[in-house]
């Protein structure tokens, strides 16, 4: 798959083109080899320096890269025979929420993830990864399935947020999210959530109330979209980068704030450069946490999760 460069990667793309152009002349002009080597070195240095100095908004661009691996890409790599489960049983099957039975290492887990869609058609069906209330209720059904059969729940989060539409409001999007939080907090099976791309607001949290929250290196997680934040607080759409910075939405920042438990490294350039590697690393990290969690009793697993969220908050008690 040919990588589509992001805006901040343009200098790299230009270098790469130059290298390609010279390489074509190599056969007739062997002494150009040195130029190629020099340029390749420049390329490598530039890439490293770019990725060593990413701004929050750059992370966000990587997190939203159109070639980024989505939930199905992980499930397929973890278990080529994973079995998808459809529907909320009450009238809808939301393609933006993918659920199924996945063999993850030695664990049988209920995998639940938002799905943005790759092709335009799939994107539209998935509302670009923004679930309807029915999607959250499908996830809820599977939470209960996991609880009944004592299976860990692994959720993959990559959503701009819950879909803001008329149908969604009429069908009580807010309740769908709230009830998921409510029920997730009561599960006695381990829940591990991974923010693989964008973690957008309540629509992300609705499958993210977990014993362990992991984030991919370039993924982001925020209470409101930077666009929304910029337009409300700065009253200017130009201030998205400032908003990204101010909200502390990158994996490393949130790890430092103590909300996230682990950050999963991505290959240089982002997860879309090597799906297999990222799926493997994610699997290892998830299993590491499952290994810890399954040592607890079921009641302890619930208490662990409740305690985790009980303690999140920053305030002064005079």
């Amino acid at each position: 798959m040919k990588q589509v460069p992001l805006e901040f990667e343009q200098p790299l793309a230009v270098l790469a083109q130059q290298i390609e152009a010279i390489k074509k002349q190599l056969a007739s002009n062997p002494e150009l080899d040195k130029d190629v080597q020099r340029l390749q070195e420049q390329y490598n240095n530039l890439e490293k320096s770019l990725y060593a100095n990413l701004r929050p908004i750059d992370h966000r661009e990587i997190a939203r890269h159109q070639q980024r691996p989505y939930a199905r890409d992980y499930f397929e790599r973890w278990d080529s025979e994973w079995i998808e489960m459809h529907g909320d049983r009450k009238g809808a099957d939301d393609p933006a929420m993918v659920c199924g039975m996945v063999n993850l290492g030695d664990y049988h887990v209920l995998g639940i993830g938002t799905q943005k869609g790759r092709s335009l058609r799939e994107k539209q069906q998935c509302n670009f990864g923004m679930p309807q209330p029915e999607g959250y209720r499908k996830a809820l059904r599977l939470f209960h399935h996991a609880e009944k059969f004592n299976m860990p729940v692994v959720t993959l989060i990559d959503t701009p947020g819950a879909y803001p539409g008329m149908h969604a409001e009429e069908h009580n999007q807010a309740e769908a999210i709230a009830v998921n939080l409510f029920e997730l907090s009561g599960l006695t099976v381990p829940v591990v959530a991974v923010v693989t791309g964008e973690g957008g607001s309540g629509g992300a949290l609705a499958i993210g109330l977990a014993n362990r929250i992991l984030m991919l290196e370039h993924s982001v997680y925020s209470v409101i979209s930077p666009e929304g934040c910029a337009s409300i607080l700065w009253r200017s759409a130009d201030k998205v980068s400032e908003a990204c910075e101010a909200m502390k939405m990158t994996a490393r920042e949130i790890l430092e704030l103590g909300v996230v438990d682990d950050v999963i490294e991505e290959p240089l350039g982002g997860a879309h450069h090597d799906f297999d590697l990222v799926a493997k690393k994610a699997k290892e990290t998830i299993c590491k946490h499952l290994d810890q969690l399954t040592k607890l009793s079921r009641e302890e697993i619930r208490r662990d999760r409740q305690q985790k969220f009980r303690n999140i908050g920053a305030f002064v008690e005079a």
């Binding site: 803001p164 539409g165 409001e169 009580n172 999210i177 939080l181 309540g202 909300v259 920053a314 005079a318």
Partner: protein, 314 residues
């Protein structure tokens, strides 16, 4: 002004005024103005009359937004409210700054609202029934939920569970406290989790949705009531109307996201006008106090019908 001082002063004033004929009140910094235009029917209303009428337009029944103190005054039996966790205040975990910094915005919010945070919690009696109470105030920082709101909701829920009190929360919120970033978002999880424990333990939680209730508050504790009540005309939803219109590129019906629309769409149990709210709460609490023996029934009829005087604030 500290909330306790405020209540003390108010009590003193009420004691002083006992037996006196009602006095015309002077406009002051504390109250807005002598006359108010109804937002809905545009009628010009004498502000004092409006206040006596619980801030409901006598002509079109428009329910004005009211502050937490006003609301407590309307719901709690006289002098029974005891505030909890008044000592919690926001910190600035992200060192957040947009066109101004977060601490400055907090001070500004408090100056406007007279409160330290967007919710006031405590215990009280409602028509003689003990209850745990949380009242949000949209006038403070748009009723946004940050760590303090989350912590106070969680603590009052834990208190209700410990003391076996019915829990009543009046929501009114524009959504998340952006300045607290991910901490703000996590309060949805924290409050919902506390309510799960409370409700698993059999606690009764009545959620009241007041104009306006949106975003993270709706998507957590506001929608988790055993019983959900909305105030007439209150706008309630997850996403804001403008965001939706931009997304679907289509005009929404005029009554979209109103309390009555939600009732029609099965999202709230009932719409109760403000004048009847305290009585309705008492009836609901009474109904859920189950008689252990058939003979030990406490019916709502047993509630003394004590006429409640609206407080005059000056």
């Amino acid at each position: 002004m500290d909330l306790k001082d405020w209540f003390d002063k108010r009590k003193k004033r009420r004691d002083d005024e006992k037996g006196k004929a009602p006095q015309p009140i002077e406009p002051s910094d504390d109250i807005c103005a002598l006359w108010t235009n109804c937002f809905q029917c545009r009628e010009l209303l004498y502000t004092r009359d409006l206040r006596v009428n619980l801030h409901v337009c006598p002509k079109c029944q428009y329910h004005f937004r009211i502050g937490a103190i006003e609301r407590i005054d309307q719901l709690a039996d006289e002098d029974t409210f005891e505030e909890s966790d008044a000592n919690l205040t926001s910190s600035d975990p992200l060192k957040f700054s947009d066109t101004d910094n977060y601490p400055n915005r907090q001070r500004e919010a408090s100056r406007k609202s007279g409160l330290t945070e967007a919710i006031v919690t405590g215990t009280c009696k409602i028509k003689t029934y003990d209850a745990a109470l949380g009242i949000m105030d949209f006038g403070h920082f748009g009723g946004s939920m940050g760590s303090v709101v989350g912590e106070k909701v969680t603590r009052i829920t834990e208190r209700a569970q410990r003391d076996k009190l019915p829990l009543i929360i009046v929501s009114s919120s524009g959504g998340a406290r952006m300045q607290e970033g991910i901490f703000s978002l996590m309060q949805l999880a924290k409050t919902s989790s506390a309510l799960k424990s409370f409700q698993d333990a059999g606690g009764l939680y009545i959620s009241i949705l007041a104009e306006p209730t949106f975003g993270g508050v709706t998507a957590s504790f506001a929608m988790l009531g055993d019983i959900i009540i909305a105030e007439p005309g209150a706008r309630i939803g997850f996403a804001g109307r403008r965001v939706i219109e931009q997304t679907i590129r289509q005009k929404l019906p005029a009554d979209f996201q109103t309390a009555e629309y939600l009732l029609k769409h099965g999202q709230v149990d009932m719409v109760v006008e403000r004048a009847k709210l305290a009585d309705q709460l008492a009836k609901l609490i009474a109904f859920h106090k189950l008689p252990e023996k058939k003979t030990a029934v406490t019916t709502p009829d047993a509630v003394p019908a004590r006429p409640k005087q609206p407080t005059k604030v000056s």
